[in-house]
Structure formats: C-alpha cells, structure tokens
Symmetry: C2
Subunit: 308 residues, 2 copies
Amino acid sequence: MYYIGIDVGGTTVKAGVVSETGHIIYKAANPTVIGDEVSFINGIADLIEVILKGANLQISDIQRIGVGCPGGVDAEEGVVVCAGNLGLKNFPLRTKLEKAISAPILVNNDANCAALGEYHALRDRDISSFVMVTLGTGVGGGIIINKKLYTGYAGLAGEFGGMIISQEEKGNWEHFASASALVSAAEKAAYENHKSVLFSLIQQNGGKANGEIIFQALRCNDKVTETVFRDYIRYLGDGIISILYSLRPQVIAIGGGLSQAEELLEPLKKHVAENSNWLKRKKHTQICKAVLGNDAGIVGAALLKDYT
Amino acid sequence: MYYIGIDVGGTTVKAGVVSETGHIIYKAANPTVIGDEVSFINGIADLIEVILKGANLQISDIQRIGVGCPGGVDAEEGVVVCAGNLGLKNFPLRTKLEKAISAPILVNNDANCAALGEYHALRDRDISSFVMVTLGTGVGGGIIINKKLYTGYAGLAGEFGGMIISQEEKGNWEHFASASALVSAAEKAAYENHKSVLFSLIQQNGGKANGEIIFQALRCNDKVTETVFRDYIRYLGDGIISILYSLRPQVIAIGGGLSQAEELLEPLKKHVAENSNWLKRKKHTQICKAVLGNDAGIVGAALLKDYT
C-alpha cells in the first residue's frame, strides 16, 4: 500500500507518493494557484495524477492522502481556518478534495507535517517527545508528545516564532531568529560597514544578502559578519532555551536552509549549554539538524494518520 | 477506597486523605526534616499515621500514596534526583517509603502534582490540554496533554520559570515574574520614593514588602506601585504569551498567592490580548485563577496514578 503527501506552500505545491516506511517513491511540484478555490483544488488534483503516473500506480493503490497547509488548520474538520498567503479562509479543503479524488484525505498544518516527517526519520530510536523548529521567513514548529502529534487547542500549538525573548518592541522570537531576520541584520550591518567582506559579497549579489553569502563571509573571518552571527545565535539559542525549560523534549531538531550549515549547530549548542541547565542532568535533550530538507512536509503529510 | 497525597515543601510537609473524587477528607502538616534521610522518611510516616487517625481509617483502606517533591524527580524509578532545598540527591524515596508504609507509592515533582490537582478540579469540563503556572519564590508549572501529565524527558518539563523573556542578563521569566520578583521590585521602588504610600506601608511592616501590601498600595492609587505593577504584569504576560504560542492549551491556570488578587487577572489578560493572537481565533485558550490554593499539591499527588 502507498500514501500520498502534499505540502502546500505560498509559491509551490509539492506532492509525493510515499511508501509505508516513509520513503518517497516519486515526487513533483507545481506553482500554487492562489485566489480561485476551484483552480486551487484542480491544481492539487492534477499534481496527484502526475505523481501517480510517475510512480506507475492507480489511485486505488493509495490508502490515504495527507495535506499540509500553512496557517491555522482545524484538522478534525479538515478545514483551513485561515491561510493568509493562500487567500483561504474557513475553506473545507478535505471535503472539496474528496470530491475530486476518491481517497481518504487528512489535513494538518504544514509545520506540523514537517515535524512529523522529521520525527518519523528517527523512528528507530524510540523517541517519545520531539520538537522541530524551522527557520524560514518566520520561525515555525511542531511538537510530538507520547509519539503522537500534539496540535493544541484549535490546532495552534508549535507556533514557537511567537514566543517573547526580548523586552524590545516586536520582541518575539521570529523577529530575531528567523532566517529572514539574519539576512536583514546582515544587510543592515554591511551597509554600515562598506569595507567589510560582507558588503563586497552583498554588492556582488545585486545588493542582497542570503544564508550562503553570510556563511561565506564567516569563513573569511569577516568581523562584521561575526558580530551579526553571534547576536543571531544568541537570539536563536534563547528561544531554544525556552523550549527546553517548558517542554524538555527528548530531541529538538532544527530545520530550514540555515540549519544545515556547519557554522550553526555548534555555537548554538554552546550558547544553550552556557545559559541553561541543559547539560547539568544525566539525561539531556539532543539538539540536532533536521535531515529531510524539503521532503519533510511530504513525508509527514503522507504519514499523518499514523501519528494523530 | 481512599488515597493519600503528600506535598513535600522546603519548610513543611503537608498530607491529606483524599477520596476517589479528589476531595480532602482530613489533612495535617509537619515541619520538613532536612539533613537526615531516616528522620525525613520517619517524619512522613508519622504524618501518614496522624491523618489516618484523623480520618478514622487504617492503612489497608488506602489504595495508594502519591508524593510530590521539589526539584528533579525520576517518576519511573521513584527517585528524587536532586532537590537542593531538601538536601536530597539520587534519593530512592519510593523504595524507602515503601519499607516504612505498606501501600504502593508514586513520586513526582511537586509542581506537576499541583497542576494535576488543579486540572482535576476542572474534570467536569472535559479539558484535553492544560497548563498551570505557579508564582512563588520562582515560577513553576505543570503540563497536562491528552488528559495525562506530561513530564518530558527525565521529568523536567514545565519549568516555565527558565524561559527567556528579556535580553538583559538573567533574563529568565522567574527573575521578573515570580512573586519574589514583584516584592523585590516594590521594595526597590519604595526606597527610591520615600513619599509614596508604598514606602509608608513597607515601613509599617518592618521594612519588608509582601503581596498584600502591594495590593493595598494599588487600591490607594499609589503611582509608584502602579508603575511597578504595570511592569510586573508585562513580564508575567510575556511568559504567558510564550506558553500560548508554543503549547496553546485549552486552559492556563495561574496559581500562587498573588494569583488570587482581583488586581492581577484582568490586566494580565489585557496584556496578553494586546500582544498576541490569543483572541483572534474563535476557539481560544482560557486564562483563569487556580482554585485549590495550598491543597492542589495534596490532591494531585493522591491522584497521580489516574493521570500518568
């Protein structure tokens, strides 16, 4: 038997046929159709046909389909309560999609699906509690407790980006710790320091920074970048400390493009160790990189039923 | 059948005989014996005899005994891993107590027991997720998820006081939001403003502030106290916002002496509403006062088995 996982993003819809063990057999992507509900559903249905064909399967081979959507999702009702960047409000995604595709549909938040995918990737380790934090435009997350997805009241748990870590205005975590926050801080510092390596690299890139440029400047020992990055690690680490004290999961996985850089994890762990009781007990939370990259949402969506 | 709940504190051990529905039949307290493990266990055993006699029961009437202890507790092993203020380290409390008392013993963290007690008090409302935050010398807490106590890896979840809410040094929540933090801030402000009502009230009380004095000064519209309290509500609210975004429980209950004052809950809710998406969704977390006061720990300890 096979599953289908669909990861709906603001710009792209990704879909994959997934095996019972959580491996992607075949995957494809299409631009997200925004603004017209009928075309939105048809876009997903077309993509499902594409991946079925690619995997050489029929819809009857598919046990169920999971869909991860951004924003507030009422998983019980299969309704997208509010997804601003998709232009959807109180949209009965499950009902609509079940009319187009003859397979059982499950709907959940995209960050929850990504967390499930990453949790599933650790299935050999018998982990009971798990938190995934994703660094992107904002900071998202998902929580697994007692081996099940925990979505909180009305499906809104795991929105770690909203935690307060500073008494400054807009002092929430994602304002300081998202990938976008790092890029903005780097651009600001570069424009204030025209002699820095960072400024040159940004100039070469049409005036815009990105993660790659920042890590390149760090490898050149650029002082301006080092300061920006040290502050970023402190902000990022402070939110991880809050998660540690409140949830104390067995594993915290960090996802998003930045998380894969060698430069991130070790200083992050150092900050957390120096500013919390993290390592002071024999059994301590493991802080690690997410491993599935962009596939996490597809895998997690496909396996939703196993973990909810 | 009856249960016994024991709440071990740094200065007092409280114990009660509890009915199946969670009502305290009879309770008593003794000073905590610190420094000698044998006397510590004997002190608890003596107290159990006292409450059995008071309730006119035999030990054979007791189905089980639950003990809540401060610090790190390994509930599975029944071991107090580390409770500094009791002078205990890796202390096999369950085994020792089972030798003195012929009843099954369960051990957990005291804040977790208090949270369970408060959760049980809401049992008629079919609540699935619940967080208790207790304002005392520090800020403690407990988490109920899917109607069960969630203790995290190695039993350390719910230590909300360790969350970071400020980029100042020692920027953790309890440094700003504990009852002790409010009292210290009030004393500092009073000594800087000798003409304030707060200063007079503190002087009358031998130079020390307390919650009662602070609320009395607020009722006199003392500007100095109003400023201190406004800051306190902001700090307290910021941590509640972090809990809201990360866990989104159905109910957050605030416990500890301060929480019972009329002046606390409404401004707290106002701050949370103005600085989060709390009320922006149809289904929103309820923020309320804890109701059991000092009995919460006894009730929760007695009912541990039902919720673990």
